[in-house]
Assembly symmetry: C2
Homo-oligomer: 345 residues x 2
């Protein structure tokens, strides 16, 4: 099959990998319909995080092609969403809601395992990992939104859930990438009354507003912090969603959270968390990789019933053969998030 | 009046300070009955944190001597508990539960303001700060326990509340100082089923067990982490209470928290929080200085009705003239916590 191959920083090429087959009785083989490039893939692309040479990509929806003998509830032809980690849903961590730490779990597209930026994927623990999408004949817009549940919308939601966003809150969202925009949408979905989006890009500001942002702060650093504090009467935000992971964005989150609040942090921290500064204000830090598998069923209903449309974060698209362009568009910030049209529905 | 004076590291002396009087209409003057030395005072004593020259001490119970014209609900002769921060209870932070960040609030014994290690204290915002103790003729044991609500028991409770301890949990408590021991008691009070206390001192182990610890880990560092993980079947604790604040204790807390759990941190962090290590396990950090004023009414009932006896953390006592001995006993770890008998009840 054809698949994206990570050869090193700034070297993503299309190539060939073996066609996946069912190996374990708990496997399924999924033919990928839509894939995409994650903000975290950019860390690898830019050489800021390590990635093994080989397969890449961990966000996809697709059609079940084959299932192992122990897989029930999934059949050939089913449209499924794959969370970005596979998990058994029965180990002590899964049972406690931490599918990310599943004792049998693992990642897609890690160089060796099949990636979502490829024509097909062997999915281990398929029955407990894949979420079947009910119905048929879904519009392209719905399919794009379903794809976001694989990671980016689940991650934005995780920021909001981790920060404890509740009805009536004032929420500050640090980061106008796809995760930050999804976090705006998630905060709105959870009933936030005021959502302050930090963004300096007009097209991202527009989408943030469409997703529910009530205020835009165009500054960065100390100026942004001052602006958020001013917007909140000097108090700070009831919840801050940190969706970048740089030292500057982490510092901005720390400075704008009101005493006693929680910073929902989902950007992989590439800078130090200034804990001592938040400690004296009882500001908490909660977050990490999203337990997407836990969130998908809830969010799925909202997508199918048209209440949320996170697929709007895709503003660039191409096919698998042009995967390198998909990365470049995001690296050069020409795209918020790049969609890959890989197979027929 | 007589009061302890901080002159610099390892130089606490008894001296004279002006008798406090009502200055603002919202003040009260409280004659101190019992005071004590806090673990945080030791950071100053050892020169590890800065403290202004002058008054010191922020934990006390006492008798109201005088009140300003705007103070209602408090009268001369009332026995009161002073939380370690005064607060107005009406500002946006107080109204949100963060009395520590009160916009009008402040600290006792900061070099200038009267300290709890002295014969009397002018208490600003007295009506919203002081908690009147109902009844009379309380035993010495009850008075000692009431004193702990001023800070140490409120802080142990804050660790447990911050970590979200709930019925049936397995809780690890890092630190066998007075705060750690109170955290054990708080965890038991909140229904923890298993409480693992990290302690290498037989007399502290005994008190930890009396307060509800079910398991004692005598090791430190990697050995302690291994032991806690082994006790929890490799999963980690449902909640970890960090009650020290050193780099080692923070690292132990990080290593023993199960995925998705929260570390309740109340030891002022003197080491870096290893956030990236906990991020990938979705382990949260929540804590800071305790909003004692919020907790006292709840805890007070439990003390008066004999359900908790945190006053047992005082295992050394002396009078105000010997305050330097009280510090030395704690500094040399001969005492868990030193009580100061300052005035008659």
């Amino acid at each position: 099959m054809r698949a994206a191959i990570f050869n090193g920083p700034r070297d993503i090429r299309i190539g060939d990998r073996p066609d996946p087959v069912v190996v374990e009785a708990t496997d399924a083989v999924v033919r990928v319909v839509l894939g995409c490039v994650c903000g975290s893939d950019l860390w690898y692309y830019r050489g800021e995080s390590d990635h093994a040479v080989g397969s890449i990509g961990h966000e996809f929806i697709g059609i079940v092609e084959d299932v192992g003998d122990q897989v029930t509830g999934l059949s050939k032809g089913d449209l499924v969403i794959a969370p970005f980690i596979y998990s058994d849903m029965t180990c002590p961590h899964c049972a406690n809601g931490s599918t990310i730490s599943c004792v049998q779990g693992g990642t897609f597209g890690n160089g060796t395992t099949d990636g979502g930026q490829g024509e097909a994927v062997r999915v281990p623990l398929a029955q407990s990992t894949l979420v079947r999408v009910p119905g048929s004949g879904h519009s392209d817009a719905v399919l794009r939104s379903l794809l976001t549940l694989s990671d980016v919308m689940a991650t934005g939601h995780h920021a909001a859930v981790s920060a404890g966003v509740k009805a009536g809150d004032t929420v500050a969202v640090v980061g106008d990438g796809a995760v930050g925009l999804c976090a705006v949408l998630a905060a709105q979905r959870l009933g936030a009354e005021r959502i302050v989006a930090l963004s300096r890009h007009p097209e991202r500001q527009r989408l943030a507003k469409a997703f529910g942002a009530t205020d835009i702060v165009e500054a960065r650093g100390a100026e942004a912090e001052h602006a958020v504090l001013e917007l909140t009467g000097g108090i700070g935000a009831d919840a801050v969603l940190e969706c970048v992971g740089t030292a500057q964005s982490i510092a901005t989150a720390a400075a704008t959270a009101r005493p006693g609040s929680t910073i929902g942090i989902v950007g992989v921290p590439h800078g130090e968390v200034p804990f001592i500064g938040t400690f004296f204000r009882n500001v908490a830090w909660r977050g990490g990789p999203a337990p997407a598998r836990i969130y998908i069923p809830d969010l799925l209903g909202d997508v199918l019933e048209g209440r949320i449309d996170p697929g709007r974060v895709f503003d660039y698209e191409t096919d698998l053969e042009h995967v390198a362009d998909a990365y470049r568009a995001m690296d050069e910030r020409r795209a918020i998030k790049s969609l890959l049209r890989i197979g027929a529905i």
